[in-house]
């Protein structure tokens, strides 16, 4: 018997699932939503996206290699995904140096300072976005207006988004649902085009990368909450469907809130988390001073996630009721 044998504990086979597989499937799911801003906002969207991804990858590599002195982790695809999601939350006419700062905050502060993938408490891309929103409110809130086959690079005309229209109270100026669905509205580059985001979300559901619990609980909560407000006062509050398909809600519900690392692990906990995000989002949108609240809502619920994980236990097999 010449062969040297491996000896290890069972199981001896593995599903073949890997972090990079999951990351790349999310990246693929985001591609339809990337084509929408290319059509309506022009090449600026691609430029912002490329710079965001490149700087996220470079920062992850440099910090991992020289500060944490760990093996390079960029091949798992998570830095690319963070870069992509950060770009989706930025206006397509944002000066590129601001994009680089956002990437540094997302990767350096929100992810690597906690110890890299898996250890961060808050969604890195959202931390980057919120940091930029607070630091550069002017640049971060002058969204370009959509224009089919947009040839302009960075200097398109800017204007109101559906959510700022809601905030101003001129509900009659809201774009119709069809425009909201295809993305013919102002906004951050990846959040317009609800239909493309839904297609990506369905892909992730079918591939079992995400489950329905988080996105559906967020969307249903927002629908019910804004629906109640609408019934209470149709003059003041926008209809629930406009809420669902405008702003960062669809992007947040499908792609940001479902980030594994920062969301609860047990299904029951995921429902609580989703309902929390929905309620906070509507509160900020309707009663707060910002027009949009999805980012803040997700970050707040990210903070509560460890607590949810500690209290929401899966249904145990053969649980004996305590007397």
């Amino acid at each position: 018997m010449e062969n040297k044998l491996y000896v290890s504990m069972s199981p001896h086979i593995h599903s073949g699932d890997s972090i990079s597989r999951k990351m790349w499937e999310v990246i693929i799911a985001l591609i339809p939503a990337l084509l929408v801003p290319l059509y309506f906002f022009g090449l600026g969207s691609i430029l912002v996206t490329s710079v965001s991804i490149a700087s996220c990858v470079v920062f992850e590599y440099l910090i991992g290699r020289f500060l944490l002195k760990q093996e390079a982790s960029i091949r798992d695809g998570s830095a690319i995904l963070t870069g992509l999601l950060l770009a989706f939350n930025l206006p397509s006419n944002l000066p590129l140096w601001i994009v680089v700062i956002g990437a540094l905050v997302a990767i350096g502060m929100a992810k690597m300072s906690f110890g890299g993938l898996g250890n961060n408490i808050f969604n890195p891309a959202l931390v980057g976005r919120v940091f930029l929103l607070i630091s550069f409110p002017q640049q971060m809130t002058s969204w370009p207006l959509p224009k089919a086959f947009n040839p302009d690079f960075m200097d398109a005309a800017t204007g109101a988004t559906p959510l700022s229209i809601m905030k101003s109270g001129h509900l009659e100026r809201l774009p119709d649902l069809q425009d909201l669905l295809i993305g013919n509205t102002g906004g951050s580059l990846g959040e317009i085009g609800a239909a493309a985001l839904i297609i990506g979300g369905l892909f992730l559901l079918i591939r079992k990368v995400i489950s329905w619990h988080i996105p559906l609980s967020i969307l249903l909560t927002v629908y019910v909450f804004t629906g109640v407000l609408r019934i209470a006062n149709p003059e003041l509050y926008a209809d629930p469907l406009s809420h669902l398909f405008s702003g960062g809600l669809m992007l947040g519900a499908v792609f940001m809130a479902t980030d594994y690392v920062t969301s609860p692990m047990v299904k029951k906990g995921q429902l609580i988390y989703g309902i929390g995000i929905g309620i906070i989002t509507v509160c900020i949108r309707v009663f707060g001073s910002y027009p949009e609240g999805v980012s803040f809502a997700i970050l707040l619920m990210n903070g509560v996630t460890p607590l949810i994980n500690a209290y929401c236990k899966p249904k145990r097999f053969g649980e004996v009721k305590k007397k």
Partner: protein, 438 residues
């Protein structure tokens, strides 16, 4: 709830049972069952016959061991067992068979059994019958449920949910009638009037055959189950068949069900109707690189190497030899380890499949929680195990873990979850026993 669907890879399915020639020497372990090792009754130089008792059960939870061959006892020595521990074994030099007196060698079916329940259980106990699916729990203990519990139904576990393994499947195809009679005998021993033979629906030939054979036995039902790992686990099977859940910490019999492996049912038939103790069994030898995968009937104590040689020899690429299936089997430390009563299969993995992959951080995807058939949180238990927080592990119900391996199987970060859970289960188990002894 929970569970996984690994690729079935039943390469050796449908291969007729083939008897392998007598080896030159057999190594019969004294701890082929759960419980105390048997006490040897023979010494160096003794001559033994095939089927002769060579070690007797040490107490109630233990099992008799019989010589699987005729020959001279070379020595009593410590050898590696499938778990990698050194254990006592009787090593016998093999001569042509000379069978112990009362063993009936004819293979004609003996349908009728007029023994009382006590006599049946005694014969099973004398024959050294244990769970043949891998855990090797002595069968007579299961047939004697503790006072106060009332068995209502016998479940015959013919699920064989582990990938690759086919020995039970083939046994049902070739010994179907014996299994039906064995089931009837076990029902008599348990004094129940209902039995369910549970088979996964990836074995339609076995299902239809047993359904046909069971027609005269109205109390025996053949149940076809959807393929699902770990459905062959005792608690999972009771839930699948009866829709009853064994409460945490309780014995399965509180649900009214007694679960026995189909291999043990066949062994029971042989022990009761033919006076033949457990001296051989069907072992499936399988793997992607093996030349002649198949189901081989071999004597207990035959070395794994001998089986592999018969199946075409050890492939050059072989890098792991597993006793049992890929989910719960044990990786052997060498190929000289003997076949024991619980060896359901020998699986060879080549150098591509054998090594473990690089471990990454937990990304809290929750796959392990979704896969756990017991509703535990493997990621949390692993963290607690790494921190040596045994008390908290007990609170998180580590003792419910059935070690099925679903958590490690699904982890995208290749984290060795079950390894850490086993450490915790061992420590917490010792802690609980210590508390009871105080």
């Amino acid at each position: 709830m929970g569970g996984i669907h690994p690729p079935e890879n039943k390469i050796s399915a449908g291969k007729a049972i083939e008897q392998i020639p007598l080896p030159g020497q057999v190594t019969i372990l004294l701890n082929q069952h759960l419980g105390a090792p048997a006490i040897p009754l023979v010494q160096r130089g003794d001559r033994v016959k095939t089927g002769q008792l060579i070690a007797k059960a040490a107490g109630y939870v233990s099992a008799n061991i019989h010589s699987s061959v005729t020959g001279k006892v070379l020595k009593l020595d410590e050898v590696f067992d499938p778990g990698g521990y050194r254990r006592q074994a009787v090593i016998i030099e093999v001569e042509p068979d000379e069978w112990a007196e009362d063993i009936i060698l004819s293979t004609t079916l003996k349908r009728d059994c007029t023994l009382s329940p006590e006599e049946i259980i005694q014969k099973i106990q004398e024959g050294g019958v244990v769970g043949m699916g891998g855990a090797s729990f002595p069968t007579h203990v299961k047939l004697n449920p503790p006072p106060g519990s009332k068995p209502e139904v016998l479940i015959v576990n013919a699920v064989e949910c582990e990938p690759y393994l086919t020995s039970d499947h083939q046994l049902m195809l070739e010994k179907g009638m014996e299994i039906i009679v064995g089931t009837k005998i076990m029902m008599m021993a348990l004094k129940v009037n209902r039995a369910v033979i549970a088979i996964e629906n990836n074995k339609p030939d076995a299902i239809s055959l047993l359904e046909r054979l069971a027609i005269p036995y109205s109390q025996i039902e053949i149940m076809s189950l959807a393929v699902h790992y770990p459905q062959g686990g005792e608690k999972q099977l009771i839930e699948a068949v009866l829709d009853r859940r064994v409460p945490s910490g309780a014995l399965p019999v509180v649900t009214g069900a007694v679960v026995l492996n189909v291999g043990s049912v066949f062994a029971t038939y042989e022990a009761v109707q033919k006076n033949k103790p457990v001296i051989d069994r069907v072992v499936c030898v399988t793997g992607k690189s093996i030349k002649k995968p198949g189901n081989y009937l071999c004597r207990i104590g035959t070395s794994v190497q001998e089986l592999i040689d018969f199946a075409g020899g050890m492939p050059d690429t072989a890098a792991k030899v597993i006793s049992g299936g890929p989910m719960m089997g044990k990786a052997l430390v060498n190929s000289q380890i003997p076949v024991s009563k619980g060896t359901s299969g020998i699986l060879l993995m080549d150098s591509k499949e054998a090594p473990r992959q690089k471990v990454y951080n937990c990304i809290r995807c929750g796959n392990c929680i979704d896969a756990c058939p017991m509703g535990l949180e493997p990621y949390l238990l692993m963290n607690l195990s790494e921190l040596s927080e045994w008390e908290n592990m007990e609170k998180e119900r580590i003792m419910d873990c059935i070690e099925c391996g679903c958590c490690s199987y699904v982890c995208p970060s290749n984290r060795p979850l079950l390894d850490h859970l086993r450490v915790g289960k061992f420590k917490v188990g010792a802690m609980i026993r210590g508390r009871k002894n105080q």
